[in-house]
Symmetry: C3
Subunit: 201 residues, 3 copies
């Protein structure tokens, strides 16, 4: 139940981020819906395709399509108010990233993949919806340019596997993995921490 | 036989639309061929991937690759004449959309998916070739910006499932689904109907 | 063993081409890594998805992810020196293309596909990593615009199947296929051979 609530809140946050980018690009109603949709489910879809988990996740239950449809309608109607909710949205988004990373890792474990591949899958689940969103909107994906985002997913995945290695209970490691991702992202944004610059000035 | 003829005409129309966009971008021969190819088979490929229907459809018979190759050669040779055929092309294209939507819905039913997912698959089959075409040509997909296109696929899919609900014979519902898509698109284009504007002036 | 060495050299060459494009676009560390990664494994991933070969190849062994990670680190540190290595890189790249084309063809044969589909898969394996790289960097893919690249893969695949047709030993045909691709590309670049121009001046 708790899990479901987080999943829906994450989906809502991701869908809204899609609506915001799509409306900036002046897409029409259908375009806005599709961008919201791929932002919310794109990462999980890519993960499911890569491991052969078909039909992909969002096709097995109407919950995602319904959540996203309702979110898009409300977001369009209250677009000005939503811009004031940035802080709450950022929080949902961050919780969503933490959760999706661990969901991806679990799917990788279920497919008997090695830890390194599980972390790759987790990071993809959390971050590739935004990549597809940006590609469809004809932008270089924002997570390739500035935000520390995928990096915290990778680090959170490492936290999980290191804890498991030290025989920590799986569920506890799971919670620690999610929490570390959330904490690291909040800290990174608060203190404007970014990846080391690889270019000379 | 009738089905095959429509399928080929639809493939031809989609491939030509790819050639036109690719040549506007001054791509080379190979680029034009690939864009024509993905425009024609991209939607069905995405559908097959999402439901795990592999090898994907166009790999199982040489008919699509041959049709598209011949179409591309003829289209390049007679590019100026083709521009005068816009009306016929638009008609093939519209018939193709109607047919592909229903093909996608059928594949969804065969994979035991719910009506809502079947409609999503049908819409994808009909419209995502054009999305991939535009992405590869570095444009924001045109169906996200103006044309009523995907929307008529969704409505046509609804028509099909509503008829089924009222115990209408499957084949009749199928024909009605296709016809309603064709009719709605012709009407939308004729009367310049577009999606409701979601932006304030 | 020989095969493995070529595979790694090809991966290195593809990854470096990704680093070069990504750094031109001023992506951050994570962005550079992802572009290098998709350039190196993107073609094979698409191939595996289309034939239903999941989990896709690079997930089954850590060798690719490790090779690419090390390549990216070294490439970033020695970016200026690497620019002087263009000739060696071009050679690795060309060998990689030859090898990957034949790997793709073999996978197609293993999936019982017809020669024409095997050649399509081989060409994809060799060239679609670069397509995804360019899309993610918001460019029209370079192989759609100028370089003779995919065309030599197609011709090399034809060489292979023609030899097989004349009862040549599979392994010999294999070596001839790769060599012909390498030779044709070197010749095409040396003599600036390009596809026939399809536009009037």
């Amino acid at each position: 139940m708790f899990y479901l609530v987080i999943d829906i809140l994450g989906t809502v946050a991701f869908a809204i981020s899609g609506v915001l980018v799509a409306m900036q690009k002046k897409l029409d109603l259908f375009g806005v819906f599709i961008i919201a949709f791929v932002t919310a489910v794109g990462g999980g879809t890519l993960r499911d395709l890569l491991i052969g988990n078909t039909p992909v996740g969002w096709m097995k239950t109407p919950i995602y399509i319904l959540t996203i449809t309702i979110t898009v309608i409300i977001a369009i109607l209250f677009i000005n108010q939503i811009k004031h909710l940035r802080k709450s949205l950022f929080l949902f988004d961050t919780i969503g990233i933490g959760l999706y990373t661990m969901v991806g890792i679990e799917k990788g474990l279920a497919a008997n993949l090695s830890p390194i591949m599980c972390i790759a899958l987790g990071t993809m689940t959390a971050s590739f919806g935004g990549v597809i969103r940006d590609i469809l909107c004809n932008e270089i994906p924002v997570i390739f340019r500035k935000e520390i985002y995928a990096t915290v997913c990778i680090l959170g995945g490492l936290v999980y596997f290191i804890l498991i290695q030290f025989s920590v209970d799986t569920q506890i490691a799971y919670v620690f993995g999610i929490s570390s991702i959330i904490a690291m992202r909040l800290i990174a944004v608060k203190f404007k921490i970014s990846l080391p610059n690889i270019y000379r000035r």
